[in-house]
């Protein structure tokens, strides 16, 4: 079985640009969550979607947005990129909306220059 798939694995963007990160959950998983992990820190919650509805939002500016599609895949969008947005972005999926069932992808490493 395929795990949680994230694309791209790495990318470099310039300040002010927009970026879209993609996540395909494990088949049958209806919940997708997004986390940001800055170097030296633990993952920080950005969004959770369950059955295509936003269930939770972390303390991130409105430049961050996300959506979940009918096939349960998800996109994370970040507008007007700042240097501080450089981080590893992790997607996690689960059957339900609880952390013990989360399976994380390997992440997308975003570098903003």
């Amino acid at each position: 079985d395929a795990g949680v798939t994230q694309s791209p694995t790495h990318l470099i963007k310039t300040r002010g640009q927009h970026v879209t990160l993609r996540c395909s959950p494990i088949s049958g998983h209806k919940s997708v969550s997004w986390y940001q992990q800055v170097l030296g820190q633990g993952p920080q919650f950005i969004f959770q979607y369950y059955e295509k509805e936003e269930r939770g939002r972390g303390n991130f500016p409105d430049r961050f947005s996300a959506r979940q599609f009918p096939n349960y895949s998800s996109e994370l969008n970040v507008n007007a990129l700042l240097l501080g947005d450089s981080a590893l972005y992790l997607c996690a999926s689960s059957v339900r909306d609880r952390g013990d069932g989360y399976t994380f992808g390997s992440g997308t490493r975003l570098t903003v220059v």
């Binding site: 949680v4 919940s31 969550s33 986390y35 030296g40 820190q41 633990g42 993952p43 920080q44 919650f45 959770q48 369950y50 269930r55 939770g56 972390g58 992790l90 996690a92 689960s94 909306d97 609880r98 952390g99 013990d100 069932g101 989360y102 399976t103 994380f104 992808g105 390997s106 992440g107």
Partner: protein
């Protein structure tokens, strides 16, 4: 303001001995706690969890202890193996039965087993 604290950035243990990783939290509303393991270039992997109604949960070589009065939990790995070398994250949630699934992570402890 860190709600989940892992005060030891690193820990080195000899193979076969016990590894004890510690975690403190400040939010008394947390009702569910989890440990994740992370290897380089991989996402975190769920290890073990504990509900606030319990004080111990065991799964093979891994045991998590919860002391609610001290707002402290620990992960014991016995015996430690070289493959256990990784970064370990403590995480907490205040909506175990709720809808948000928002996990609050600590900064992690890098375990080296030699």
């Amino acid at each position: 303001d860190q709600q989940v604290k892992q005060n030891s950035p690193s820990l080195s243990v000899q193979e076969g001995r016990i590894s004890i990783l510690n975690c403190d939290y400040t939010n008394s509303m947390f009702d569910y706690f989890l440990w994740y393991k992370k290897y380089p270039a991989e996402g975190p992997t769920f290890l073990i969890s504990i509900s606030s109604i319990k004080d111990k949960n065991e799964d093979g070589r891994f045991t998590v202890f919860l002391n609610k009065s001290a707002k402290h939990l620990s992960l014991h790995i016995v015996p430690s193996q070289p493959g256990d070398s990784a970064v370990y994250f403590c995480a907490a949630s205040e909506d175990y039965g709720g809808s948000q699934g928002n996990l609050i992570f600590g900064k992690g402890t890098k375990l080296s087993v030699k």
